[in-house]
Subunit: 167 residues, 2 copies
């Protein structure tokens, strides 16, 4: 049978960092990520959503290896000050759970199925990021195993298809 | 020469929809996207960032074809009411600009280069979403052409490598 989803992956080695309430104007993200790149910090997910209408600020969120968190906070301190960020928020208790598959592009219900299977397990989705062939959700670290098990069942993947690799 | 970025794409056929201030608890995203899937609406990007600490609500943002906006608003109306969303915000003046390349994974500076080239052109980044091999930014529709031109230069792509396809 044809399966739109061909793999499930979980990665609990990362931490989420959010630079909160930065000005939503050109150059701000360039400043944040250039500073990190200059110190050779590898960033995995980058997520920026809708700007708060009221004061035209926005939050820039990203994930890095948990091992890099201290270094990242040092690098960001002067940048956050300069940008007048309200806070640099760190959450180390996260896991990225992803489903992958080239067949997802034309099937509208795949994301809904993923979200439903996490909801049925009582798992809160802390962040979402998608591309054509991959949907990633951040969940609390303690939910990663249960999430992978549920996704494995919902998308009918044989045991061999769980890729417990970095997502 | 080895190029980490192998293509630039722009897609101006989409609109961004944000369901604002929904409860940040399990099942909410499942409800929103199941309703859309039931009516066979194809969703492209889905982005949910960090929950506002104050009242534990969050915004769920996604993009759909501009042709589907009216249908989507009809489908979401009862859902937004049930979830007590503060607003369903539509922005039709957007373009998704993406860079793709399998070589990006191990190079920390690629995202920074992309953001810098948009900043140098005075282009504001309205949303960001990444995967290992792709970085997508939403910009105002009128900036799409300039963004693609700048990215083409920064990543030294020959003219033939611009993929003006749906990103
Ligand atoms: C918030 C940040 O992304 C800003 N909009 C920028 O373009 O850099
Ligand atoms: C906001 C929404 O994503 C919620 N956290 C959920 O899990 O469905």
């Amino acid at each position: 049978i044809y399966k739109p989803v061909t793999g499930v992956a979980a990665d609990s080695s990362q931490a989420r960092i959010v630079v909160c309430d930065v000005p939503d104007k050109p150059g701000v993200s360039a400043k944040i990520f250039s500073a990190l790149a200059a110190k050779n910090i590898s960033v995995d997910m980058i997520i920026q959503s809708y700007a708060r209408q009221s004061n035209n600020t926005n939050d820039v969120a990203f994930t890095v290896s948990s091992d890099d968190v201290e270094k990242v906070l040092e690098i960001l301190e002067p940048i956050a000050k300069e940008l007048q960020a309200s806070n640099v928020h760190v959450n180390d208790n996260i896991a990225k759970v992803s489903i992958v598959g080239a067949g997802m592009v034309d099937r509208p219900g795949i994301a809904a199925d993923m979200f439903k299977s996490l909801a049925d397990a009582g798992i809160n989705i802390k962040m979402i990021s998608t591309s054509e062939i991959k949907i990633s959700c951040l969940v609390d670290k303690q939910n990663a195993k249960e999430a992978v098990k549920r996704l494995h069942e919902v998308f009918e993947l044989g045991c061999g298809e769980i890729a417990e690799v970095k997502g």
